[in-house]
Amino acid sequence: MTMDTKKLLSDYRHNRLTPESLFLLRKESAGTDTSRLELLMEDLWESEPLDVLSDPDSDRNDRTDRMLKRISRRTRRPAVPLLYQAVTWAAAVLLPVLLCTSLFLYQRTEKVRDNLIVVTTQRGEQASAQLPDGTVVSLNADSKLLYRPFNYDNDRRVEFEGEGYFEVATHPKIPFMVETPDIRVCVLGTKFNLKARSSNSFVEVMLDEGKVELTDLTSQARLLLQPLEKGTFDREQRTFSVVKTGGKEVSSWRQGEMVFYRTPLKEVLKAIENQYGVNITIHVDEQLDEDKFTGTFTTRNLIESLNMIKHCYGLNYSVTGKEVAFTR
């Protein structure tokens, strides 16, 4: 490569070629083997100051940025794998969090499943409870209603002790079941009064509407009740019996009355004790406990009730705080 070639190349690069010099350069370049041209070009590349070459673009910075952008598109990770990476990271972070949450929720569900709602009344109290399906249970004094809200809609089962009036929301498929320690009352939608006190020797179901089925939890013996029938379960004999009623007696407590029909005095007094939250004792020689009593008391006035018993049996009574004592 001669000095001439260098000059020709320089003219080419600066657009100063003449048709004659172009002819010469073409001839040179055709004859020159690449390695000599390479050496010449490398020398120019290393030695040439930047400003020797004019820039074809006036917006040089734009060009540099534009090219870098395109380069970055290929050197930086593409968008989809980046997203994938982000998702991977998110999953890695979220997995333990979700696991903990699941565990927590599971445990809570377990708790909820075991959750019991208990409605109780003390002696002298009455209360009303509405269950998730709209069933309303009115509790007389000294009663207890238990149910599990978890899955209640598919399994309408409650436990009950004491006396209560049930207005069961109708559901054609899912029966409503009340379990007392002795019997189960199974209904589809009805109104009935249930009396299942541990202090009474009988469990009584007085049906107002619909149909109920009573089942002895021990023998699985069954009794189907029609409206206005009262089913009685003898807790000692473990037998059922049915009587027709006028419908007033059993749920009378809800109207502020206590109606008794040939009821042992012992149970009458217990009812009064429950109603007013008092203790009644009878200090007499003869045995009055099993005496059959028929009558109606108010649930609003203890003295009136006590006076009625006083006149019926010719007794006297004294009230000391919560203690009532009958004497001859």
Binding site: L17, P19, E38, M41, S54, R60, R63, M67, I71, S72
Partner: protein
């Protein structure tokens, strides 16, 4: 130089910031250098881009003790020489040189119009030709075929080619008057 070594070390570790710093040092010089041989902006941009992309892809093989400048030239040279030779030997470049000389009247002043702009105006003017004229013109002026060769290829007589080319040249001259003041540069054989 120490900063460059620092950047190269970063690049080898896959740090984009150091890669971009190196790009900003070399991109402009590389572009101008290559453009002076290729004389086409898009082709030059593409070369420079591909160069830096392969620099990134081969970052782990970079030797710290060698100069990056030398490495860049080595990576660029094959494509650069090919492009240079393509431009140098193209018939349109010959027209361009003729044009520049006619325009300036002196071979020692730098041309007023660069090769790419010349090609651009030429192509615009070419749109005015009909299909035959355009093909004759392209084969003659851009592919450098002789009248005889064109006649054979197009299955026309040599005289027809001469006539068509002459019409084409006339029309081009008319059309290019608006863009370029002098259109007397074509080789009229």
């Amino acid at each position: 130089m120490n900063t460059e070594k620092h950047y190269i070390t970063g690049l080898k570790q896959g740090k984009h910031r150091d890669f971009e710093a190196l790009y900003r040092v070399y991109a402009d010089k590389l572009y101008r250098y290559c453009y002076s041989f290729i004389k086409n902006r898009e082709e030059t941009e593409d070369l420079v881009q591909e160069l830096f992309i392969s620099l990134w892809n081969q970052r782990e093989n970079i030797q710290l003790e060698n100069s990056l400048s030398k490495l860049l030239f080595t990576m660029a040279k094959n494509r650069l020489i090919n492009s240079y030779r393509a431009t140098l030997n193209s018939p349109v470049f010959e027209d361009y040189v003729l044009f520049c000389n006619t325009l300036s009247g002196s071979s020692q002043t730098e041309a007023m119009i660069d090769f790419q702009d010349f090609c651009y105006h030429l192509n615009r003017a070419k749109r005015l030709l009909n299909e035959t004229q355009r093909e004759v013109f392209t084969l003659s002026k851009e592919n450098g075929l002789s009248h005889k060769e064109i006649a054979q290829r197009m299955n026309l007589s040599e005289q027809t080619i001469k006539n068509q080319l002459s019409i084409a040249m006339k029309m081009m001259s008319e059309a290019l008057k608006n863009f370029l003041p002098m259109m007397l540069f074509f080789r009229l054989i």
